[in-house]
């Protein structure tokens, strides 16, 4: 925050005023709080999923692409089956999204396990490919022929995720996101399957000697994180926009990395760090409206948060070893 204020002052904005507007503004009324919660849904989902991948030492930088893959899959299902009731249709759309994301993540996982291709580079390349593919789909095969803009047809009414509170855009995805983050916490820290994922991440040789299948656990970890990102994409489509656009995500996939790191790669804490980043994002949007401060400031803050977290973590590690 302090750094943000200094940066603003140096560039001719009223630094502290802007920060004040941002902090007070985001909590000003009920509606703005529901908007923060709405933004926290994809961040919690992606952040919690990435915790699993990072714990397994799978550096999945591709949550953005996996989100798009999930959004495309959810849209395909969401426009195709008229006559289903909501009770069946909504879960179907969400599962399609999760599978789409898991598939996109799984490609990188497979290339890593089978060919030792660095998942850092492949997931980033798959981000670009997913974005370009989405742009092709909404201008070509999936384009709504009645619309002037590149966008898909609207999802059928029965496929929409129900609102949590009538009158606000906030939908029940927030409850599912929190529940899934807790499930992943239990999985990672209270189950033998999750234990195996963590051991592979800490020491793959030891894991192999203990009879664990390292490749399989790496695949599981990246597919879980991809699936969570895909689910986030499905929620954006079925809960917020109801259509597929070229840029449905303002970078949630990259922000999720910061969410996971701030949470110390613990899915339970991703609920809180996801909420914090949602506040920052809402605040930066407000700053842009009220004082024309470019919204991109939020990624600078994210970068600084990550550096602070790793410094803190490294220092703690250092003092523990000394002591």
């Amino acid at each position: 925050m302090g750094f943000g204020a200094v940066l603003l002052e140096l560039n001719g904005y009223q630094g502290m005023d802007v920060i004040n507007v941002m902090i007070i503004g985001v909590f000003q009324d009920f509606r703005s709080i529901t908007e923060i919660l709405l933004k926290s849904i994809p961040l919690i989902l992606i952040g919690a999923g990435l915790c699993v991948a990072f714990r397994c030492n799978m550096w999945n930088i591709g949550a953005e692409g996996q989100l798009y893959a999930g959004a495309v899959a959810a849209t395909l299902v969401g426009v195709s089956f008229p006559g289903l009731t909501s009770w069946i249709y909504v879960p179907l759309v969400l599962i399609a999204g999760a599978l789409g994301g898991a598939f996109w993540g799984g490609i990188a996982g497979y290339l890593k396990v089978r060919f030792q291709a660095s998942e850092i580079v492949t997931t980033i390349m798959l981000n670009y490919i997913a974005l370009i593919a989405t742009s092709w789909l909404v201008t070509g095969p999936m384009k709504d022929t009645k619309a002037a803009y590149p966008q898909s047809a609207r999802l059928l009414r029965e496929a929409w995720v129900p609102d949590l509170i009538s009158g606000a855009r906030l939908h029940i995805g927030i409850l599912i996101a929190i529940a899934l983050a807790l499930v992943l916490y239990v999985y990672l820290y209270r189950s033998s399957a999750g234990y195996a994922v963590r051991v592979v991440g800490i020491n793959p040789h030891a894991a192999r000697y203990a009879g664990m299948n390292t490749g399989r656990n790496m695949m599981i970890a990246i597919c879980i994180s991809g699936g969570m990102a895909g689910l986030a994409g499905a929620f954006e489509i079925a809960g917020v926009t109801h259509r597929l656009y070229q840029n449905i995500s303002p970078g949630y996939g990259f922000e999720g990395i910061a969410v996971a790191l701030l949470a110390g790669n613990n899915p339970m804490y991703a609920i809180f760090s996801g909420g914090l980043f949602a506040v920052l994002r809402s605040g930066s949007e407000l700053m842009q409206i009220s004082s024309q401060v470019p919204q991109v400031l939020v990624s600078i803050i994210q970068g600084i948060v990550i550096l602070s977290v790793v410094t803190f973590g490294a220092l703690r590690f250092f003092s523990r070893r000394r002591g």
């Binding site: 060919f115 580079v121 798959l126 670009y128 973590g313």
Partner: protein, 310 residues
Amino acid sequence: MLDFITIGFLATLVGAAWRLATPLIFTSIGEVISERAGVLNIGLEGTMLMGAFCGFAATFASGSILLGLGSGIVAGMAFGLIFAFFTITVKANQIVVGAAINLLGMGLTAFLFRTYYVSTGRGVDIAPPIAIPYLSDIPFLGEALFRQNMIVYSTILVTLLAAVLLYRTSFGLTLRAVGDHPKAVDVAGRSVAAYRYGAVLIGTGLAGLGGAFLTLGHSNQFVEGITSGRGFIALAVVVFARWSPTGAFFVSLMFGLFYALQLQLQAQPMLNIPYQVFQALPYVMTVIALVMVGGKNASPRKLGIAYDGR
């Protein structure tokens, strides 16, 4: 349907390939040096953006291309210093810090650009092409290859210098040892940290230069995200080149060819293929290249691992 493929088309393609490869050549050779010392810097994208922006800003203000290129290098090294401090001194995870550097680079350049330049809409005069006597008179090929600007030509010099530095100097020998057996260097009484700082600074300076080329030798403007993934593709180039500077030069040229092909084919109206297919080409080729070389057996042994005295 394929009758647009003429000698002129191919010659233009080759010339464009070298020009489009230039930012990759600088950045990937820088990363070769950094990784040879055991430091994996995935923050190249953000570092290149800083170079691209600061190079543009300096030339915009002064009118001097050389000053712009220098500023690009210095901006890259400034980010390199941050990266080195957190990964070498604080010993934080290199991938995490690299990701933070990327966020900082993207955010800071977009913030400064929107604050100061977006409304001016003016560009800078890019480096002029220089025709090399005699060579540029070769029919077709000479015209395409030897009428580039000085930055493109300098890739050859940088490649040779990097190869000499790594394989023919005692600094290079020690630097490679730092990547493979840091303990041995430590025991021999030299500072592992100092060599790693040096390698990172050389690497990020070159990444800054690669970024500056984009705004001063290629496009005449800064655009948000102008690097469009080249910092990440450079990482793949390094793996494909098996951590060798000359290898990085030729692999970059290959990627430059993909970029050139993408641009040339997009401009062919008779090809009834969506332009997105060509857009995706460099990224798909990067994945394929990584799958082809696969294994890490040629990588420096302590790549990505902080030296803790053990």
